[in-house]
Symmetry: C2
Subunit: 465 residues, 2 copies
């Protein structure tokens, strides 16, 4: 076999590319059929008067693209063209993530009602954003987040949560985990003790650990975080869900709120308040955010659109106390915005025209009905055999099945076609999760499916009344 490309040595094209292109063409046009052995690197480099590096690079490129295979002893040989698409792929077959649920009744926490999603309004907002936004929604946009969106958020949290702030204090982030990453950097928490509720939101725990925080899990009492434990923790910051403890559902009472604030004032610590699902309360008055009570600029408020509107927006927000603004402005001017400016602008329009608050009001009613259906079904089909934990708000609750074991309960449910979940990942030490607990998210299920799902569960668990 003769390989004699015409090499141009004027530097316009690297020699290895020329060699590579030549051999590639020979293979593609069938002049080097499958199985042909290529000359050794040394031989070809001498033949063409080029360096061995050149030939090696050309060969590696051919291998990388799957034209040529390399075997230990026999050297390089031309591969079949049919194999092309897979020949060079060295990745082991890796299990893909779970595909869309195949269960008739999937109590997945995080799912929302999509039947009543305002497709038309949202589509119009997206279109309008694209058509009228110009460079601001096509390029990088404002680093801190869309100015209009920040204004709407400031209005929203004042009206709905009693939180008073200026748009300058609002920083848009791409989801809660990104917000926590940002706060770890802003507060320089790496290497510092940081407290969080135990059990608590695993998504945040993961990030705190990855960011090098010294995690201080603090036990939950019936009325929320243990102040005694927190006080002993030396934490520089605490992550907390005061309005609806995740996952246990407690509401932090006002006395504890005052104590928590006092703790922060006395120790100069920060409180990160995650107000993730406060839109959905079904009993009593909405409880104002902890932030609304903060007179000492120690509470950092964290909100998300993932419960109230659309997880796929991937938009969350941080409200910084003014005391942190200088640091933010100084150190984060190189930080680009991660949430899509286009989505941000659409969300701004959606809020501005009132669609967002209409949507939340509508969803609150809807989820309230689902919630009622869930409690009614549990009461009817399971009765005394189970205890419901955290039933006053939100889109999930915990079920404690007397004498049950979470793993076993989940498996039996699966066999019966119902998907429920083990909550042990929410515990800092998963083994500390009490037996017999399962978590039920109900946002994505229809009322009748909730009822039927619970009926099947009760049977599967043999805890029919």
């Amino acid at each position: 076999m003769e390989l004699t490309p015409f090499l141009q040595r004027d530097g316009s094209l690297p020699l290895y590319v020329q060699v590579y292109e030549y051999i590639k063409l020979e293979i593609e046009q069938g002049r080097l059929p499958e199985g042909t052995r290529l000359p050794s690197i040394r031989r070809l480099s001498e033949h063409l008067s080029v360096s061995k590096n050149t030939i090696e690079a050309a060969y590696q490129q051919l291998v990388a693209e799957g034209y040529v295979g390399s075997k230990a002893k026999s050297g390089m040989h031309v591969l079949s063209q049919e194999e092309l698409s897979t020949a060079s792929q060295t990745a082991p077959p890796v299990e893909e993530e779970r595909e869309p649920s195949t269960y008739a009744y999937d109590f997945q926490y995080g799912d929302l009602d999509l039947e009543h999603f305002p497709y038309r309004q949202w589509k119009q907002c997206l279109q309008k954003a694209l058509e009228t936004g110009g460079a601001e929604v096509l390029l990088y946009g404002n680093r801190q987040g869309d100015r209009g969106l920040r204004e709407e958020i400031a209005k929203h949290v004042l009206q709905a949560r009693g939180v008073s702030c200026l748009p300058e204090q609002v920083v848009i982030c791409a989801g809660t985990q990104q917000a926590i990453t940002f706060l770890c950097q802003l507060l320089e928490l790496a290497g510092q003790p940081v407290a969080m509720e135990d059990p608590g939101y695993d998504g945040v725990r993961t990030v705190l650990l990855q960011q090098g925080c010294l995690l201080q899990p603090v036990a939950i009492e019936d009325d929320g975080i243990s102040m005694a434990e927190l006080s002993q923790s030396a934490a520089k910051a605490v992550y907390i869900t005061p309005s609806h403890q995740f996952p246990c559902g407690a509401v932090l009472p006002i006395q504890k709120r005052m104590k928590l604030l006092q703790w922060a004032y006395n120790t100069n610590s920060f409180i990160v308040e995650d107000d993730y699902d406060s839109e959905f309360r079904y009993q009593g008055q909405p409880i104002p955010a902890l932030k609304a009570l903060d007179t000492g600029e120690r509470v950092i408020y964290l909100g998300t659109f993932s419960k109230s509107f659309l997880p796929a927006a991937r938009v969350s927000y941080v409200i910084l106390p003014p005391i942190l603004l200088t640091r933010y402005k100084k150190h984060f001017q190189n930080q680009s915005q991660s949430a899509s400016p286009l989505i941000q602008r659409a969300l701004y329009l959606f809020m501005k025209e009132g669609s967002f608050s209409r949507h939340v009001r509508r969803m609150r009613k809807l989820y309230q009905a689902k919630h009622r259906a869930l409690l009614t079904a549990i009461e009817a089909y399971m009765g005394e055999r189970v205890r419901v934990i955290g039933q006053r708000a939100g889109l999930h609750l915990l079920l404690e099945v007397a004498g049950g074991q979470s793993g076993e309960l989940v498996r039996r449910a699966e066999t019966a076609g119902v998907k429920v979940y083990e909550p042990k990942k929410y515990w800092a030490d998963p083994d500390a999760c009490p037996p017999g607990l399962v978590i039920l998210g109900f946002g994505g299920l229809r009322e009748e499916d909730i009822t039927e799902g619970i009926r099947i569960l009760a049977e599967a668990w043999a805890c029919v009344k």
Copy 2:
């Protein structure tokens, strides 16, 4: 003044909320006019037989919402309703970010051509994604990124960059900074020496520092990173832009590529290849990615849609060598996806129907013309007085003005209505940036504006031939 709400002590509503609601209503309906002093906490708590905490909480809520002001000696008093919107806002007036450019000629790096942006196709893709995507594009979507998008990316990098990978190796991220944050965690780089080109992309430097890496700046030579310095650095990883060094424009020659790979193989280090603007080369053949030569699974490839398509998509991607997949699957199952699933799906559709590659081809021609206009104008108006650095590719170049000082050059340009930028932030030590350098991004300017902008610059800098 008499404040005697009817308090329900059945626990349905916290007492402080009842007190707060009562006073709020009194104020709103004018029964407590502006200036009215509220009773002290002690007095009211005795009067109503509730705890002082209750009253304090109610008052703080009123203060937070701006109904009531608090003065050192005179206690709480009702504020004017007109002041409501600002009274409680304690944030200092903070300078907002620069508004959209007011310069007729803004050579901002990062701006793209928006006149030829495919609005119609992109809008259709967004619509279609929304209409047909279902739960996958409304909820959280696939953690690793939209499956279809990852397939399209795998095809794209094979075809355009000679990089062969499976969709399983592709991880979608929300921009390059987020990708680097992710890699710092995956490779556990906190506290480790990490090398990067100096000068180099400040956006990445910032993240490496924030993530606690020990930054090892490595000098750039005419043909890219200094291998001698890198070898001495003890770095566990190196961040590099081999196809178009940012900001100096060098292309890493094949010999250096081989040496760099050898360094990684010998030291068991990782190479993070940022291939940010490889779509836009105007001379010679596209240079295959460094990743295409990597036989030892040591190169992590990083791509972005911010140059080739749309910064506002906030979509970038990491291609992991198979060796890292197990670690990724194991430790990142709690990590939610930050890029919007809706945008990801739209991008998938855009690529799948061929619009993306058409767009890139079109833009390449367009930018080539702009690039030519820029070089021609510089040659014509500035001639020998300036040196052009890195003119073979991309959407920017550096200009070295003989005898000039960057700061002064920028100011003079501004006065003349042209915005150019100081590149010193790209140097690890900004003082090390040679004098007389400015960076010109030309992606967002029209050909004629480029020419005119350069003419004005030449005058402003008094370097007319």
